[in-house]
Every structure is written in structure tokens, then in C-alpha cells.
Symmetry: C2
Subunit: 344 residues, 2 copies
């Protein structure tokens, strides 16, 4: 099957999305439709041979044809009108704002354009880390202790270390580990540069971390390998690049069946009746034999391809099980009854 | 100030939104821009003199000019291009799907078109009654006991009466009060006609109910009168019509200052850091001196105008305090650093 890759977005993760799209281009040989959303909220149709980072950083994309979404697809202007661009199912690969915050999901659903990616409800509940904690709690999934703070909050932290995160950001931007009171203010300032809402969370050094991806298709959940991510380069600049450009398969982490089942069970609690239509990655901690949700990546870097034994088949499977938009028609029964009632 | 009224939508509340828009036309004398979203997701510009229910039920609107949203406004086609329609701040008056589920909020925010109404996060958390309960619980606001069921759920109800509600519907459609086991199946079937997710909630006969509306402007919350709604016509067809077409002011309910403060305190817990930009109405129960949230109306019928002493001033106030969209620009700093790193 063929897919279209939608990437870019008006967000702090704009550039990471370009890296991610270039990675998927390498993996999906017959994909040749690339749709770039720039930081001015304009869509451009990008030729496959131009899918290189310098094409975007040099702003060369501005010379490419502008396209725009409307009912049932993307269109471009012609001399006296417009014509539709034929595009196969879209993969929403816009990380962070626009892509993960529900804007693009809403737009595509409104115009009835099929896509692989989280729907707007799933986006809202996973984009904001406070809402993710609320969701986890509601669905019986553990999270580490945390507090939510704003710039004018009276902030009191008793137990260090903590990890400070902007509430609404998908990557590692603005995140710091804080070991003592003295470091707190600087780290908070850094986080508040990205969001007016910040999460302060318990940080347990050397906690075991496991990543698991999955998706729903043909009436069941399909899981990826479980990976134990390398942590020594945590928060490092190159690490982020490597994460979003990964195309080589990983190996299953060395864990017991019991731990694997615990991870799958928690993934299922988060995913079911919310993330259908999307390939997501959940990052978990295991501590004292208990599983904690760290975060949900509703559009993981390069779609977590490296966690699946056969990634193209994964995409084919999910693309046949996408949620259908509602088909409500106005009957005007109510207004007609009112008219009759008023006529009495 | 002048406003534009956006109404209609692809939803079960399509017709109620028309009733609501006609009510606001009467109240806002100098409003002359009406934008109708039909059940095919097309926008039409409706003349003020055509704002009558029969104009829509007879499908006469189809002859009016089609318009469409893009960056910074609504546009219409001309012979060789397009022209922008000058529209003042929009009031999102699409009840139910599209309006209250986050679709329209996302669309308007994406295209940077100013509007009064809940933002997408607020929509998602108030449109689905399960998520509303989850939010209330997270923010320390009580709700009555409930369970969430799906069509294939094993459903067990021990204590009657209960009230059955489709999870994602803004008006009284599909709702029934169930007194015993025998009535349960029929009522559930009725609710499942509207949504695959249904809420079964405790029903306390003759419980005290109070409605309170409010909005945030000029750095503080502004509250409406508190109303004790008449309940004898509950779920009745005419009641719904009367509710959405109300334009006459109500009187403050006969309550103590203590109860009033309890309602305002709970309203504030729900509204703050979520509903900014919107005039919402919260419906509360008071039972054994405890306040329970019944539901949030993020776009109440005719915008709950009848609860405000001076409704036009309310709209003027809120329109000067609308949330601003982010203004993130791509710097390509990251991609340039990668290029340098790779060149090493």
C-alpha cells in the first residue's frame, strides 16, 4: 500500500518532524506524496527528491505548490479554479503542536480525509502531561507523584531529585532533572519558556524504563517488541536526533513474561476506546514490581517503526481499521414539529 | 460591538442550534453576519432576514453564497479568484457535535479566526460525560455515582432509579429515567442509538438543581444569576425548544449566600485554566448540603443570555479577553546543528 506523509507544523517540534519524515521516506519505498505544513500554517506538496533537511531549513519549500484541505481531500489552485491532488491515506507525522494537540486530527476529520494517527480526543488527553496523569488515574494505571505549577504558583518541593517538564511538549525540550532547591528556579524558568503550565515529578534514579508500541486493527490490539531504552545519553541533543531518525530494528528487552504482560495490560488500559486509528508508544517505568506510565507518545518519532518486526505490514493493517466519521443527517423533524405546534 | 453567529453543524443538535441562533439574532440588534454550517460540512453566509427556521428546514439556504475558512478569515469564490468576507468576532453557537466536540474550535484556531467559545481542550473534556466526570474528580468537584457502559458490556444495576444518557450529546436526546430492571433494556437501546458509549447515573428524585453561568475577562471570573430550573417539564419536547429560544431574563434563585458561594467555588474549579474564551453554564445539584456537578454546557442554549443582567456587555467583555494562539516560528537551529555535527 501507498501512504502520504504529513509533517512539519507550527510547533517547537517542527524540525524533529522533518527528521522523522525523512526516516519514514527511507522505510516506505513506494511512498511519494509528502505534505509539509510550515510554521505559517500553509501546506506544501514536496517532491520525494526534495525530502532533505536543508530543503526546509533553507526555505526552498516556499517555491513548491501550495495545497489546502477541503471536503474529501487536498486541492491546489489552477488558473481558473482548482484541482484535487490524489493522495493515499495520510500518516500524521507532525510531532508536538498541531499534530499531537488535536488540531490536524480535527481538520482531517472535518474534511473527511482518511489518516493514520490519534483522533482529537486522544490527542487532547495525551498532549498535556497533566491530562495524561488524569487519564491514567481514571483508567487504573499508576503514575509517579507529581504536581502541576504555573508561573504565579507558590512552589514547594520537599523531596529531591525531581524532573521538571513543560506540560505540553512532546520531546525533551525544556526538561531538567533537579537535585536540590538551588537548581529549582533556573530549571523552572527554562520550562516556563515553553509552556505556562509545568509538571514537577518525582525522579527515581536508575529506574527501569521500558517502551512498548501498539495499535488496534482487525478487532484486536497488536503489540511491538518491548525496548529498554539506553539512558546514558538522556536529554542529549544527538540522542533526540537519533531517536527520531531511527530505522533499524530493535531487540526485545530482557524481561520476564510477567513484566511483559504487565506492560501490555497497562498499554491496553490506556489505548482502548481512545487511540484507535493510531500507532502509539507508551513509555513505562517498573519500580518495586509495579508498573508506572511515564508518558504516551501518540505520534512517536518515526512512528516507532524500529519496534515492529514488519513495519510496512503494521501500516497496512491499521489503515484497514481506521475509525469512521459519523454520518449524521439533519432531518428537520424537530423544527417541523415546532412549526406545527406554533400553528396550533 | 458587532459579532458573527456561527450555527448549525453536523450533529443531532443541528436544529436546536438554529433555534438558538434565531434567539441571539433577536437579542443582538446590530449583528448581521450569520454563518450556517450544514450537515454536509459546507458553510453558507445567511442574510439576517432569512434567519427563520423554515429557511433551513426547506433547504432554501442552499441558494445562499458558500464560504470557506482559511488563514485569518472566511472567503468566497469569485469568477477568477476569491475574496475575503469581513466578519467581526465569531460566536460559536453550534451545539453538540462540531461545535462542542472541538472540531470548530480547532478549525478556527488553526486559521487564526477570533471566536467566543470553548477551546479544543475544553470541548473534549466537557463534550464526553465520562471525561467531564474525570475532570470534576481531578479538580475536586463532586459528581453523583455513575458507570460507563458499551453495547457489549455486561450491565449490572443494583440501585434504582437511574438516569441513562448517551455519553456524547449536549441536549436531552436519548435520555431516560429508569425506575426498575424491566425498563432498563429499552432505555439503554434508546441511548445506544445516539452513542456507543452510555452513562448510567444515580438519579435522586426531587434533588435541588441550580444553573450558574460565567466567563473570564479582564483577569477575573464574572458570574451570572443562579437559576433554579423548572423541572416538571423535564425531557419534554417543548421544554427543549423553550430552553434554546429563551431571551427573557431570569430571577436569582432563592438561595443562601453559603449555597451561592459553594456554586461559584465549584464553577471556578471547573472553569479556570480550561474554559477561558467561553461563556459556559454549569448545572449543579445540591444534596445534603453538598454540591455535585451535573453537567457542563460549554455552549449553552442561546448562550445562557437570560442568566445575565446585561448580555451585550457580557459579550463585549469576553471578546476583549480571548486566548491568543501561540506564535511559534521555526528557527531551523536544530537542523543546522545536525548538519554541522554530521559534517564533522
Amino acid at each position: 500500500m501507498k501512504f502520504s506523509i504529513l509533517f512539519g507544523g507550527k510547533s517547537f517540534e517542527h524540525e524533529i518532524s522533518i527528521v522523522s519524515a525523512i526516516a519514514l521516506k527511507k522505510l516506505l519505498a513506494n511512498t511519494d506524496i509528502f505534505i509539509f505544513l510550515d510554521d505559517n500554517h500553509e501546506f506544501y506538496l514536496i517532491k520525494k527528491e526534495n525530502m532533505k533537511s536543508v530543503f526546509f531549513s533553507s526555505k526552498s519549500y516556499l517555491k513548491e505548490p501550495k495545497i489546502y484541505p477541503k471536503k474529501n481531500g487536498f486541492f491546489t489552485r489552477t488558473l481558473f479554479g482548482e484541482k484535487q491532488i490524489q493522495i493515499p491515506t495520510i500518516i500524521n507525522l507532525i510531532h508536538g503542536g498541531d499534530g499531537e494537540d488535536g488540531a490536524i486530527a480535527s481538520l482531517l476529520d472535518f474534511y473527511e480525509i482518511p489518516y493514520i494517527g490519534p483522533r482529537k480526543e486522544a490527542c487532547i488527553l495525551s498532549y498535556d502531561k497533566e491530562l495524561t496523569k488524569m487519564l491514567a488515574n481514571h483508567r487504573g494505571v499508576n503514575v509517579l507523584d507529581y504536581q502541576v505549577v504555573f508561573q504565579d504558583s507558590k512552589i514547594e518541593v520537599e523531596n529531591f531529585p525531581v524532573i521538571i517538564k513543560p506540560a505540553r511538549l512532546g520531546s525533551s525540550l525544556g526538561i531538567s532533572i533537579v537535585k536540590n532547591k538551588e537548581e529549582l528556579e533556573y530549571s523552572l524558568d527554562k520550562a516556563f519558556e515553553y509552556d505556562k503550565k509545568v509538571i514537577i515529578e518525582s525522579f527515581i534514579p536508575n529506574i527501569k524504563e521500558y517502551n512498548l508500541a501498539g495499535f488496534f486493527a482487525n478487532k484486536e490490539l497488536h503489540f511491538s517488541f518491548v525496548e529498554e531504552p539506553k539512558k546514558d545519553e538522556f536529554l542529549d541533543f544527538n540522542k533526540k536526533y537519533l531517536d527520531f531518525s531511527r530505522t533499524t530494528n530493535t531487540q526485545q528487552a530482557d524481561i520476564t513474561t510477567e513484566v511483559e504482560n504487565m506492560l501490555k495490560d497497562n498499554f491496553s488500559k490506556i489505548y482502548t476506546n481512545l487511540f484507535e486509528g493510531a500507532v502509539i508508544r507508551c513509555d513505562f517505568f517498573i519500580h518495586n514490581n509495579t508498573c508506572y506510565l511515564n508518558e504516551i507518545n501518540p505520534i512517536p518519532g518515526s512512528l516507532a517503526n524500529y519496534l515492529f518486526a514488519d513495519f510496512p505490514t503494521t501500516l497496512n493493517k491499521i489503515s484497514t481499521s481506521l475509525p469512521k466519521p459519523n454520518n449524521i443527517k439533519a432531518t428537520y423533524k424537530f423544527l417541523n414539529e415546532i412549526k406545527v405546534a406554533k400553528g396550533k
